[in-house]
């Protein structure tokens, strides 16, 4: 068998072991045979390379359907991030603009309200009422000190207390009244909060014509709003107080006149104005005693 035939059989894959051994010996002993073998190998490699290139070129013309954006990893990450973002945004909006849910949560802890009747004599001509959801007023004594147009605090709320509709008081004495700081219970956690009013205060209270003590506003304290640390909002006949208030006692005074109504917050020995005709969250603005008196006088 000539070496050309052996080489051909080799590249056809039909070489037997004996023939392979023979070809190996021939190539080692004769460089010409080795060169011919290498030459044939170059040709066949070239043919294989050519064919491979043709097939690849054909495959490259195949149109691969584009993966939908949501099918790609980038798309999935984007959609996932968007969904998470939307959830957070939704949650944030719910927290910011839906305090009612928190109200319900807070309402579960019903406050204990103790109230005591003040000397109540209803004046038919009186138009102003003071609402006192959480009040205990002692009117046993009477003093001569009085301040024109003063308002006697008759309402007390704590962070734990609210909705005290059962405590309605009527105050009627035609003498000027003066705001009286309530005697707050020793502990903020004390469920019973008393407001002690001395006789002088009683007189002052009664200076408003026919003051009625009613409970119309539900008060809710919201402490988890970073944005609002000392703010309020009046909505749906509810007062939302934003802030921790040092976990202390605050009081809400509602003064009802014939045609208008004013509400004040008493906290840390200061009075703050509560505007009822704003639904937005507003900062609590301090008002001094004189201004408070003027407001009350204006209500009469």
């Amino acid at each position: 068998m000539e070496y050309q035939e052996l080489i051909e059989k080799h590249f056809d894959g039909n070489l037997s072991e004996g023939e392979a051994s023979l070809l190996e010996d021939l190539m080692q002993s004769n460089p010409e045979i080795k060169n011919e073998f290498d030459f044939q190998q170059d040709l066949i490699e070239g043919l294989k390379s050519k064919r491979k290139s043709e097939l690849k070129a054909r495959l490259n013309t195949v149109e691969i359907p584009a993966v939908p954006f949501f099918g790609t990893m980038t798309g999935q990450i984007t959609i996932g991030a968007s969904a998470v973002g939307a959830i957070f945004l939704f949650g944030w909006l719910m927290i910011q603009f839906s305090p009612n849910e928190e109200l319900e949560a807070v309402s579960e802890t019903s406050p204990v309200v103790e109230s005591e009747a003040i000397a109540s004599k209803e004046n038919e001509e009186a138009g102003a009422t003071i609402e006192a959801p959480v009040v205990t007023i002692d009117t046993s004594k009477e003093t001569g000190s009085s301040t024109k147009n003063g308002v006697k605090p008759t309402v007390k709320e704590t962070a734990d207390n609210k909705s005290k509709k059962e405590s309605e008081k009527v105050v009627s004495e035609p003498t000027p009244i003066k705001p009286v700081q309530p005697a707050i219970a020793d502990s903020f956690t004390d469920e019973k909060v008393r407001v002690n009013v001395n006789e002088n205060n009683t007189q002052e209270l009664s200076s408003l014509n026919d003051l009625k003590i009613n409970n119309t506003l539900d008060i809710n304290n919201i402490t988890n709003k970073r944005k609002f640390q000392f703010h309020y909002q009046v909505r749906d006949n509810q007062l939302f107080l934003y802030g921790t208030f040092d976990k202390g006692v605050y009081e809400i005074y509602e003064v009802n006149a014939k045609e208008s109504k004013r509400v004040f917050l008493y906290y840390n020995k200061e009075y703050y104005r509560i505007l009822l005709n704003h639904k937005k969250v507003l900062p609590l603005e301090k008002i001094d005693q004189d201004e408070l008196n003027e407001i009350i006088e204006a209500l009469n």
């Binding site: 460089p31 060169n35 043919l47 064919r51």
Partner: protein, 179 residues
Amino acid sequence: MKEAELFERIKKGDEDALEVIYKKYYRMMTKLVLSNNGTEEEAKDIYQEALLVFWQKSVSGKLVLTSKISTYIYSICLNLWRKELERKKRHSYEEKDGVQHMDLEAKEKARIVLGCIDQLGDTCKKVLMYYYYDGLSMQDIAEKLGFANTNTAKTKKYKCKKKLDEVVKTQYSKSDFVD
């Protein structure tokens, strides 16, 4: 199209069926490389190489498929990509000078051979490529190219090969590649 039918068509050297498979498994196969530090181009290249291995083995009748086509191709992709990663790792340790010198000579020879193949007629090219790359039998080549019979295919292959030998040898002589 069912997988068995596709495989039968592949075994007969049906290039349209190859395109169908290529399209069908493209995302699945390239994802393997893409998710293992490969580029889109590398992923495509590996998949095409794997698919052509599958093609060669199927057409030459050397493959007895015992799994799904996708499983078989996937395993080839996996092996090829592992080899490629190893090659990349080795590449930085090799002495590039010697390798480059050998590559240049081999590349020049390959360029000459490819040029000579292009000089052949279309039928000659097909006969030789089908025979040496695809591994088609003479009978299949005869059927595929519409020859009268197997002997015609054998004769054609002999003549075409001889012609290529002559053309390449002439070109090698001009480039001093022949002693």
